[in-house]
Symmetry: C2
Subunit: 475 residues, 2 copies
């Protein structure tokens, strides 16, 4: 028995000798860590008696008290067991668990494509770091102490006030700060709304983001597609949909087909909501980015009691900021806050304060203007390249937003996607956005995001696209 | 009919005259806003014909084209209707909706108490603004562009690496960055875990946060209380609980009663988890704050495959940062990420990057040390004041954490709470934390948080508490 602990003590001592100089923390902390490690790795087996304080202290050149405290710590944690008269032993149940496998269970991330023209992301390289940091400094310096306390699930009043002003000015939204609820983005808003406030079935456009449909389906909400024509979603179909009391639309820029909702349909959907006591959910995901057409204010302005307006900074600034907002009819505010809960004010308060400053100081407008110009340039470049190199392909939905839809000759979509993949070009097919219950024929097409690549990589991505499209049948 | 529009035009002109100078945006934007407002407020009634471009332009001293563009914008938005030969009219369906009531539906916030000794919040005035801003500047400057892109639902690798090192060093947690999932705090973690990964019933301690029980109950999880004695939760009761395959514990510092879980029980709960293929959820909500006792490492270190370790910055830094983490057994990582979803990486990436820097630069340790000293001072002040002014009350659970439990003579709790309320002192009663199914007798007591008031207000809050407690029966 003496041998067992002498050997252990030597090994412990040897290990500690290495660790004591290299590691952070007090000697006691370092010793405790080394002992835990030795027990975990099985070098100190269950039942092994540890050396007396004095021996180990002498061996390591540290104080006896330090060893005693370290033993006491490990006893309290369950690593060691101290029994009167039999010294300190490694606890019986501390047998080494099966070693942690280093192999990851989750699938490895797919390799990054050589060219990325998928939709959905703004240009990450253009995040206004300097202006954001300056806003953050101003906001955090000026914030009252209570800003660092438990917080309001509705969101910081500074941000709600700034949004009230901004959304009225830029998007024609009619609200007061009382009716805005800050959230972490559009998906969070949907989850809150369908987590106890609204119920399905929900009318949606026959083209839309599969992620949103999946999220709704996971929340038990059935979605019913409205067909889309050149005037946007056919809102006239709503009256025939039994039991549907809510419709999710992208009026400023149908996602992804790209047209605005016609003025008569904007009016019709509000009329429908009024007559049916229904609600319109307005997803204004990229309303700030329009190029060749008049600004188109939010439908919400037509009837704030019948439209829930949903926006975020995910396209205008960055999805990394995780901030969005709901502008709610008055009668829903209390219910949404109840679902959101007293402690689920999930959006970072620091980012909320910073965004409030970013908006009121005019930096948000400046950034949006700059990005509008940049994206317009990219769009023009795309249109010109297509005209020159793939004249058989007609880009549509390009008056606004961060993506274009390319309609392809029937039966060619698969071929083009294969040719793109061959060149390492990531692309979204139009079919991928189609609602599974949509009835109209599915045209061949691509959704091309022109915001994702950094500036220096954009030209090459467009060239790869043109090669994948080929010169067309006439060439 | 001419009169109607002449009057309207005059009124519009008058309104605009005020707004054109005061408001932001182009003349067209200002005119459009003024027209929308006039329609909303009913000054321009449905069917009213608007003045011709030329008249209104002359009236306002602006270009005819500006008026034409503004009309076109409002037609597109559904406010106006343009019919060949009959000019532009206010759309029929744009009847003013019932005016937005300014009264709020949600109940007004309760008045702030004069003194606040409720538990649960760190000292908001001590948030390290300067150090945090410096870390933010370093982190955002150094971050790669992709950090501002769509992001990883698991959380930034920089933060997961920093936590791996920190948690091993400070809390004895044994993990790799692969097994950490960043979330928005403890509540978010619970929701993720019980939103498709784990199932109830769940063993909990008979005293705990009602908010957590409510959150679990809302997720359909039944909770079963374990009784608590002077050695912490009676983990021996677990084997008798049918169907229970998970236990939520606060081993470092039972919440709120305040003791550490005894070493034998730490061992026992891990043994139970191993033999039952069960899981321990370790809520390490304030593990950094200990004063008079040895540091007590996480139970997770005993068996990383059977313990889910949950932590956050809510107590150590601020709940406003909304950052927490789960350290998961390897086999759960994939499932948790699936629930978290590809786009629900809800914690701010900017804050994640900042916290990673804050940890690796040593500022986190420094802040925790500073706060430990500050809270220890407050605790000592509380204990001294109670000893002098309310010697019949014995504070317990004070070796660690941000709160103390005061056991009261039987039958006096209500009286003390009334006396406290009378002085504007907000306090939590011990009974409020008791599980509704707990069987042991419920002692009278208070939970006193000593972190909430700012420094300058602490003394007065303690004095108010002592007055509420009174000098006791002997005096």
């Amino acid at each position: 028995m003496p041998e067992s602990w002498v050997n252990s003590a030597e090994r412990i001592g040897a290990d500690l000798h290495l660790n004591l100089s290299a590691d952070r923390g007090s000697r006691q902390a370092v010793l405790s860590r080394a002992l835990r490690e030795a027990i975990r790795e099985g070098r100190l087996a269950p039942g092994t008696r540890l050396p007396p304080y004095r021996s180990l202290a002498a061996d390591l050149g540290i104080a006896r008290n330090t060893v005693a405290s370290s033993y006491a710590e490990l006893v309290a944690e369950g690593w060691l067991a101290a029994r009167q008269g039999s010294g300190t032993r490694v606890a019986e149940r501390a047998a080494p668990p099966r070693p942690v496998r280093t192999a990851k269970k989750n699938p490895p991330a797919p390799p990054r494509p050589a060219h990325d023209l998928r939709q959905g992301q703004p240009d990450a390289a253009s995040f206004p770091r300097t202006a954001w940091l300056a806003a953050s400094r101003r906001a955090l310096t000026a914030a009252p102490h209570e800003a660092f306390g438990p917080g309001d699930p509705q969101g910081r009043i500074e941000l709600r006030r700034a949004l009230t002003e901004y959304l009225a000015r830029a998007r024609g939204v009619r609200t007061t700060a009382d009716r805005i609820v800050i959230c972490s983005g559009f998906a969070h808003a949907l989850r809150l709304l369908f987590g106890g406030v609204l119920r399905g079935p929900l009318a949606v456009e026959e083209y839309g983001l599969p992620f949103h449909r999946g999220l709704l389906s996971a929340a038990g909400v059935r979605t019913v597609p409205l067909s889309i024509d050149e005037q946007g979603a056919r809102t006239g179909e709503l009256v025939a949909l039994k039991g549907v009391r809510a419709a999710l639309l992208t009026p400023a820029h149908q996602f992804p087909t790209g047209g605005p909702l016609h003025s008569e349909r904007r009016a019709a959907v509000v009329d429908w909501a009024r007559s049916q006591q229904a609600l319109v959910l307005e997803d204004d995901y990229d309303g700030e980015f329009r190029y060749d057409r008049e600004p188109l204010g939010a439908v919400q302005g037509l009837d704030p009691e019948r439209v829930i307006y949903l926006g975020s900074v995910s396209k205008s600034l960055s999805p990394a900021v995780r901030l969005g907002w709901m502008v709610l009819p008055e009668h829903l505010v209390g219910q949404v806050l109840e679902v959101k809960g007293q402690r689920e004010a999930w959006a970072s308060v620091l980012d909320q304060l910073t965004l409030a400053d970013f908006l009121t100081s005019g930096h948000y407008d400046r950034h949006v203007r700059r990005m509008r110009q940049s994206y317009r340039g990219r769009r023009d470049q795309l249109v010109a390249a297509l005209g020159a190199q793939a004249p058989h392909v007609h880009p549509t939905g390009i008056a606004a937003g961060l993506h274009a839809v390319l309609r392809l000759p029937p039966g060619t979509e698969g071929e083009v996607l294969r040719a793109a993949a061959h060149q390492g070009l990531a692309l979204d097919s139009l079919a991928g956005f189609r609602h599974p219950d949509a009835v109209a024929p599915a045209p061949d097409g691509l959704v091309v995001g022109y915001a994702t690549p950094p500036d220096h990589a954009y030209r090459a991505a467009v060239d790869a696209l043109c090669r994948a499209l080929g010169p067309g049948p006439e060439a």
